[in-house]
């Protein structure tokens, strides 16, 4: 029998990521729980505000990917207005969205995961960090910064500032792109493309060293969800929702994102503030209206983000990204999806390449400097849903307003939330491989940390002062006794 541990969320301090590993009576890992601590209340905070303010407000949910919230929020606002935004505005929004993918993925790959990947998972912990990377591969460290700065610079050019640009608004964008600024973006592209090509080569050269990690880091079947274009291409801004299982069976070929509630449910547990989104048709199958049993939602687990997006699309649509995608798909048997979360790293780099190629193509579009960039209207619908792909996965903003556009209710599903179940299962899988006896060790802590980092989760970025994500791992016996505890300060 396994003792169930309930941890009172009120005692948690925001910014801590706590992991509890539960042992059964035989001392084997029976479960692992990744407790995410976020202050609830953001959605409540927004009630009573005007929907016009929401892009600016929601951009502050995250310090790394504010643009994602700008996009989803502005799209929800578009729906409330009942407008189609000018084509140039849509292209400009996409430009900013792609730039954000580049900067966020660059940070994740080069600086957060780079030390593990390039220095080795079992290398000296004292050197497996940014300084070890600088010592051994200074050019790689500089390249990562250059690539991130490319993305930030494009965002700043378009929006006037790289953090929380108040440029994306319901109806379109505030300012067009000038010829001069288009030239600036154009000039920066070759270096960014070169850096990405080098990073892909470096990762592919190192992949054979990580066969063990492929096996144990999130290697399980699941559904995958994301946006695709109407004809199945890789998509980050618009399109339709597609859900596919690990065997390549398409469960939802293309549902309108505004209808997401028909297929996505949200479960809650007392031991974490993060909700558990799940695919309803699978999780509720066979219940016929009966009360669902505990843990029912796990049957509807899906992954989002780079791995999901490159898995579910039929093609990318740009030459180098498509070539990389074909090579990537050889990691799985023909027709099946790449189901190892370890390959989020690879997927991230493919997406950077795709986004850079799309940016290059878009800045050559003659209409990109048109000055008609905003549609104007009043409230025409009392519910607006905006969906966009954030670097970490699909992001939903749903707003309910009154006739004056004042928010009555807000619901958001953030990208990291979708991956909650998968992150928990990944931690459990790693723990099952590495826990031996009743002690935790540094190596275990590193592995778990890396397993979580695969998903590049956005945790407590919203509060800088106390959001440093120290990590605490507790090993708990079947009778509830805490056998060991490891802590790493963030």
């Amino acid at each position: 029998m396994t003792r169930t541990i309930t941890i009172d969320p009120v005692t948690r301090i925001e910014g801590h990521a706590k992991i509890t590993i539960l042992l059964d009576d035989d001392g084997h890992v029976s479960d692992a729980r990744f407790h995410v601590v976020e202050f609830r209340g953001f959605e409540k905070f927004c009630e009573g505000r005007s929907f016009w303010e929401m892009p600016g407000i929601t951009a502050r949910v995250c310090g790394i990917c504010p643009v994602s919230h700008l996009m989803a929020s502005a799209k929800a606002g578009d729906a409330i207005l009942g407008v189609s935004i000018p084509p140039t505005a849509a292209k400009l929004r996409r430009l900013m969205n792609w730039a954000q993918m580049v900067q966020s993925h660059a940070l994740s790959f080069f600086h957060l995961s780079g030390p593990d990947l390039l220095l080795g998972m079992d290398s000296d912990p004292a050197k497996r960090n940014v300084f070890g990377l600088i010592d051994k591969y200074p050019d790689v460290a500089r390249n990562g910064i250059r690539l991130r700065r490319f993305g930030q610079k494009v965002i700043s050019i378009l929006g006037g500032q790289s953090v929380h640009p108040a440029w994306t608004v319901p109806g379109g964008v505030r300012e067009p792109l000038s010829d001069a600024n288009r030239s600036v973006i154009r000039r920066m592209l070759p270096e960014a493309l070169d850096i990405t090509g080098l990073a892909l080569d470096m990762l592919k050269d190192a992949i054979d060293d990580y066969r063990d990690e492929e096996t144990m880091y999130g290697n399980f079947p699941s559904l995958f969800m994301g946006l695709v274009t109407p004809d199945g291409g890789l998509e980050h801004y618009d399109g339709v929702l597609r859900i596919v299982d690990s065997d390549g069976n398409v469960l939802e070929p293309g549902i309108s994102p505004a209808r997401y509630r028909e297929v996505i449910g949200e479960a809650v547990e007392p031991w974490t503030y993060l909700k558990f989104p799940y695919y309803k048709p699978l999780a509720l199958r066979g219940l016929n209206g009966d009360a669902p049993p505990p843990g029912y939602y796990q049957a509807g687990m899906y992954r989002v983000g780079p791995l999901a997006r490159v898995n579910i699309c039929d093609y990318a649509g740009t030459p180098r990204a498509d070539a990389e995608l074909r090579e990537f798909r050889r990691l799985a048997p023909r027709g099946k999806l790449v189901s190892n979360s370890f390959h989020y790293h690879y997927a991230r780099l493919i997406e950077i390449m795709y986004c850079l190629e799309r940016i290059a193509e878009t800045v050559e579009d003659p209409s990109i400097t048109n000055d008609r960039v905003r549609s104007h209207a009043a409230v025409n619908n009392l519910v607006g849903v905006g969906v966009s792909e954030a670097p970490r996965g699909t992001l939903f903003h749903e707003y309910h307003v009154n006739e004056d556009g004042i928010l009555q209710k807000v619901n958001m599903i953030i990208a990291t939330g979708h991956n909650n179940l998968a992150m928990n299962r990944t931690v459990k899988q790693i723990a099952q491989f590495h826990i031996n006896g009743h002690k935790l060790d540094e190596g275990m802590l590193n592995r778990v940390e890396h397993g979580i980092r695969l998903y590049d989760p956005c945790l407590s970025c919203s509060t800088h002062a106390i959001g440093h994500m120290p990590m605490v791992i507790e090993l708990v016996a079947a009778d509830g006794e805490v056998l060991d505890c490891l802590r790493r300060d963030g």
């Binding site: 202050f39 940070l107 919203s462 800088h464």
Partner: protein, 164 residues
């Protein structure tokens, strides 16, 4: 001779009450330094990220100030953070000292740098700053004197009069 110049980073989320104090402090410090003949460029950031190391290296300024809020601090403080130890983090958010160390190790850039902090206690959603946090801003003129003395002396000029 041109005026000395600084880059000031105001750190924090202005929608999380005291977490946004860094932005406020940055503006107040910039104004105090201006009165002492020092120009500043203020950048507001929700958190510090690695790319800021290159930004600092390319900035051609005479010094860097980071303005932030600190949990459990009692009063405001200023400290020099050049060359201090910086624990390496695996999170998205870096410390000022870590940014400076990377600027030095990767770009050979070493500048005078300070961290000014005010206490914070309320991090719920909101746009207000606690009275205790406000009170700590009483030290801003003293902070500006410290910074100005170092910068102006390094240029061989005497610090200007304080207007406190």
């Amino acid at each position: 001779m041109t005026e000395p110049s600084l880059l000031i980073y105001g750190i924090g989320n202005q929608q999380r009450n005291d977490d946004g104090a860094g932005a406020f402090v940055a503006g107040v410090v910039a104004a105090a330094l201006k009165r002492r003949g020092i120009t500043s460029e203020v950048h507001l950031v929700q958190q510090l990220t690695p790319d800021l190391a290159e930004e600092i290296a390319e900035s051609h300024v005479d010094g860097i100030v980071f303005a932030d809020v600190e949990v459990d601090a009692i009063a405001g403080a200023i400290r020099s953070i050049v060359g201090i130890e910086a624990p390496v983090t695996s999170s998205h958010s870096w410390s000022p000292a870590l940014i400076l160390l990377v600027a030095e190790r990767l770009y050979g850039c070493r500048l005078p740098a300070w961290l000014v902090t005010v206490p914070g206690s309320n991090f719920a959603h909101g746009e207000t700053i606690s009275p205790a946090t406000h009170q700590a801003l009483g030290s801003v003129e003293a902070w500006a004197d410290v910074i100005a003395r170092v910068l102006l002396e390094s240029r061989g000029a005497a610090p200007g009069p304080s207007l406190a």
